[in-house]
C-alpha cells in the first residue's frame, strides 16, 4: 500500500495529501507572512496601506517593520502614484487595498505610472472574487484579472492557497517590474507545502490525467482537484489538473501540452468568464491547438451578499459544476 493517495505529478509538486484532509487558511494570510519576510530580506521593500491594514494583512508588516510602513488613508489613486514615485527613487513598494479599489479605482494610474512608466510597484489585490461574501457586489472584484492582464509589461499572479501566496509575494518582491498579486478573503484549503516549487510564469501539474485538462487558478484549484477525483470515481474519467497561477505571462507551453495530451480543456477561475484567465487560455489554444473548451467563472453578472461557499455554488464554480463542465468538454471531444 502506498503511504500517499497522491499520484506522481502531485508528489513531484510536494503537495499535501489533500484527500485525507486539508487545513483552511485565507490566502491573504500568506501575503501578510510573505510581506514581512520580504521586508526583512530587503529593507527597500515598503508596505503602503490605504486604511485596510488588518483586512489586507499588512498589519503584521507594520509591527515588524514600522520604518518601512506608510499609511495614506482612503486614496487608492494616490496609492499607485505615491508608490510610483518611491519606486523611481529605488524603493520596492507593495500597495494593498481591496482589488475592487486597487486596481479597480486606480486603473489609469496603474497603466500609466506602473506599466508605461515601468516602475517596480507591486499591487496586492485583496478580497478578490465573490467569496468575499456578505459585503456584496460592490466589494467583490471579478473583473480585475481582465483589466490587469490587458496591460503590457504587467505580471499577474493568482496563487492557489495561502502557502503559495507567501511564495508568490516573495518571488514578486525579487522580480523587477510592475506586478499584480490577486488573493481572497475567505479561508480556503491549503494544498501546497513550503517544499512545493514556485516560479512565476511556470504552471504546475497538480494531478495527472489524459481525458480532460482542468486549468485553474486561485482558491478554486482545490475545487478542481475535488472535481477530478469525482470524475474518476463516478465516470472513470482521468483529468489533468493544472495550477495556472501566472495569468501573465502565461505558460503557453503548459497550456498547449495540456490540450495536446487531453484533447479537451476546462478553465476555472473566480472571475468573470469574459476576459479572464480562461479567455487567455482560449486565445492561446485557438491559435496553437484548438480543442473543446468549457469555462467556469461568473457568467456576465455581478455578485451579491451571501456566505462564500453558497456564492461559489450559486455562481457555478463548485466542485459539481466543474465536473459537469469537464463531462461536457469530454463529450464534445469524443463526438
Amino acid at each position: 500500500m502506498p503511504s500517499t493517495t497522491l499520484d506522481a505529478a502531485a508528489q513531484a509538486m510536494r503537495l499535501i495529501d489533500y484527500r485525507t484532509g486539508v487545513e483552511l487558511v485565507p490566502t491573504r494570510n500568506g501575503f501578510g507572512e510573505g510581506l514581512i519576510e520580504a521586508g526583512t530580506r530587503d529593507r527597500n521593500v515598503l508596505a503602503i496601506c490605504a486604511d485596510l491594514a488588518e483586512s489586507t494583512r499588512m498589519e503584521g508588516f507594520k509591527k515588524a517593520h514600522p520604518a518601512q510602513y506608510l499609511e495614506i488613508g482612503v486614496a487608492e489613486q494616490m496609492l499607485v502614484a505615491l508608490a510610483g514615485g518611491l519606486a523611481a527613487v529605488g524603493k520596492i513598494p507593495w500597495i494593498a487595498s481591496y482589488a475592487m479599489f486597487n486596481p479597480g479605482r486606480s486603473w489609469e494610474q496603474v497603466r500609466t505610472i506602473m506599466a508605461l512608466n515601468d516602475t517596480n510597484v507591486k499591487i496586492a489585490g485583496a478580497h478578490a472574487g465573490v467569496s468575499v461574501g456578505p459585503d456584496g457586489a460592490t466589494h467583490q472584484a471579478i473583473e480585475d484579472i481582465a483589466i490587469m492582464r490587458v496591460i503590457p509589461h504587467m505580471t499577474v499572479v493568482v496563487p492557489c492557497d495561502a502557502v503559495q501566496t507567501k511564495a508568490a509575494t516573495l518571488a514578486l518582491s525579487k522580480r523587477v517590474g510592475p506586478a499584480y498579486l490577486r488573493f481572497a478573503r475567505e479561508k480556503s484549503a491549503i494544498v501546497t507545502t513550503d517544499a512545493t516549487p514556485f516560479e512565476i510564469g511556470k504552471a504546475q501539474v497538480f494531478r495527472e490525467g489524459s481525458d480532460v485538462a482542468i486549468v485553474a487558478c486561485g482558491i478554486l484549484v482545490y475545487n478542481a482537484l475535488m472535481a477530478a477525483d469525482l470524475l474518476a470515481r463516478e465516470h472513470g474519467i482521468e483529468c489533468r489538473v493544472v495550477n495556472n497561477h501566472t495569468v501573465k505571462p502565461m505558460d503557453e507551453a503548459a497550456i498547449v501540452d495540456a490540450a495536446q495530451t487531453c484533447g479537451a480543456v476546462v478553465t476555472v477561475e473566480e472571475h468573470q468568464k469574459h476576459a479572464g484567465m480562461g479567455s487567455r487560455v482560449a486565445e492561446i489554444l485557438a491559435q496553437r491547438h484548438p480543442v473543446p473548451i468549457e469555462f467556469i467563472g461568473v457568467e456576465d453578472r455581478f455578485g451579491q451578499s451571501g456566505e462564500p461557499t453558497e456564492l461559489i455554488e450559486y455562481y457555478g464554480m463548485g466542485t459539481r459544476a466543474i465536473a459537469d463542465a469537464a463531462l461536457r468538454a469530454h463529450q464534445r471531444k469524443t463526438k
Binding site: M78, A81, L86, T112
Partner: protein
C-alpha cells in the same frame, strides 16, 4: 543661495528666448501640439535648468540630481526645448517632436527619455509621484529637491489633492510645486470651466507654504523659488502667474492657442518677434 548678477540674468533671459524659439520650431515641425502653455512656462523652465536645480546634463541619471517632474505633460515642448538648450541633447532633435521613433513623444515618457523622471500626460498625477520621490529621499536621507510643475486646470483632478494632503502629512519640505497659473484650459477660462479660486487659500488650508509671483519674470521667480525652497517642515507651492502664449503677440492671452501649433507663416512671425526681443534684451544689457 547664489546671487543673480545682472549679466547672468541677461544670459537667462536670452536663454528663455531661445527656449521659446525652440518651442515654435518643434511645434511647426510636428504639425500638432500645444502652444500657449509651453511658451508661458519658458521663463520658469529656464530658471530651473539655468539656476535653481542641481543637475548634470552630461549625466542625466546622476543619483543626487534634483528631480523635475512635469505633471501637465502636454506642455512637453517647453521641457524638451529647455533640455536641448541646456545641453541634454542637440537642439536639432527638437524637430523630431511627435514623430515616429522619436524620444520626444507627444507626452513625455521616462522609458524613452529617462531624464524626464516620469511619464505624464494624464493630468493630476505628477504631484502624487513627486510626493513619492520626496518621501523616498526623506526615507533614505538624500538631499535632492523635488520640483513639480503643474497646470492650473489639473487642480480640478481629485488625485492632485490626495497628493497635497499626503505631502503635508509627511512634512515634505524637499518638495516644491509650481502652478502655471495662466487661467486657461481647453474649454475656456479655468474660472468658467470649474473655478479654482481662492487657490492660495486652498493650499494654506492643506498646510502648505504658499508663494505667489510673476512666472514670466525670471528674477522674481528665482527669488521666490529660493525663498520657498528654504522652508522647513512643509511642502511649498509657488503660484506662478503667467500669460498664456507669452512672447508671441498674437497668442498672448488667447485660450484658443492652448492645444494647437502655429502654421508655417504664423511660426515665421513668431520667430521674427522672438528674434527682435532677443536683440532688445542684448541691447539693453
Amino acid at each position: 543661495m547664489q546671487t543673480l548678477s545682472p549679466e547672468r540674468l541677461t544670459e537667462l533671459r536670452v536663454k528663455a528666448n531661445d527656449v521659446r524659439a525652440g518651442i515654435i520650431r518643434s511645434l511647426v515641425a510636428a504639425g500638432s501640439g500645444h502652444s500657449a502653455g509651453p511658451l508661458d512656462m519658458a521663463d520658469v523652465f529656464t530658471a530651473l535648468y539655468g539656476h535653481l536645480m542641481a543637475h548634470r546634463p552630461d549625466q542625466p541619471d546622476w543619483p543626487d540630481r534634483d528631480r523635475l517632474l512635469l505633471s501637465c505633460g502636454h506642455i512637453a515642448p517647453v521641457r524638451y526645448s529647455a533640455m536641448a538648450n541646456f545641453g541634454y541633447f542637440p537642439v536639432e532633435e527638437l524637430l523630431t517632436l511627435r514623430k515616429f521613433g522619436t524620444r520626444l513623444q507627444g507626452h513625455p515618457e521616462r522609458v524613452t527619455l529617462p531624464s524626464v523622471e516620469t511619464t505624464s500626460g494624464p493630468l493630476g498625477e505628477g504631484l502624487a509621484q513627486g510626493t513619492g520621490m520626496a518621501l523616498g529621499a526623506k526615507l533614505d536621507g538624500k538631499a535632492f529637491h523635488v520640483w513639480v510643475v503643474t497646470s492650473d486646470a489639473e487642480h480640478q483632478c481629485g488625485l492632485h489633492w490626495e497628493a497635497v494632503m499626503t505631502a503635508a502629512k509627511f512634512g515634505l519640505d524637499n518638495l516644491t510645486a509650481i502652478v502655471d497659473r495662466n487661467f486657461i484650459q481647453i474649454d475656456g477660462s479655468t474660472e468658467d470651466v470649474m473655478p479654482l479660486e481662492p487657490l492660495a487659500e486652498k493650499y494654506r488650508a492643506f498646510n502648505w507654504d504658499v508663494f505667489t509671483c510673476d512666472g514670466n519674470d525670471i528674477a522674481a521667480f528665482i527669488a521666490t523659488a529660493e525663498q520657498a525652497r528654504a522652508t522647513r517642515g512643509k511642502p511649498q507651492v509657488i503660484i506662478a502667474n503667467t500669460v498664456p502664449g507669452k512672447g508671441v503677440s498674437y497668442m498672448e492671452g488667447d485660450y484658443t492657442w492652448h492645444g494647437k501649433p502655429p502654421n508655417r507663416e504664423q511660426a515665421d512671425r513668431a520667430l521674427a518677434e522672438l528674434h527682435a526681443e532677443r536683440e532688445r534684451i542684448l541691447a539693453h544689457a
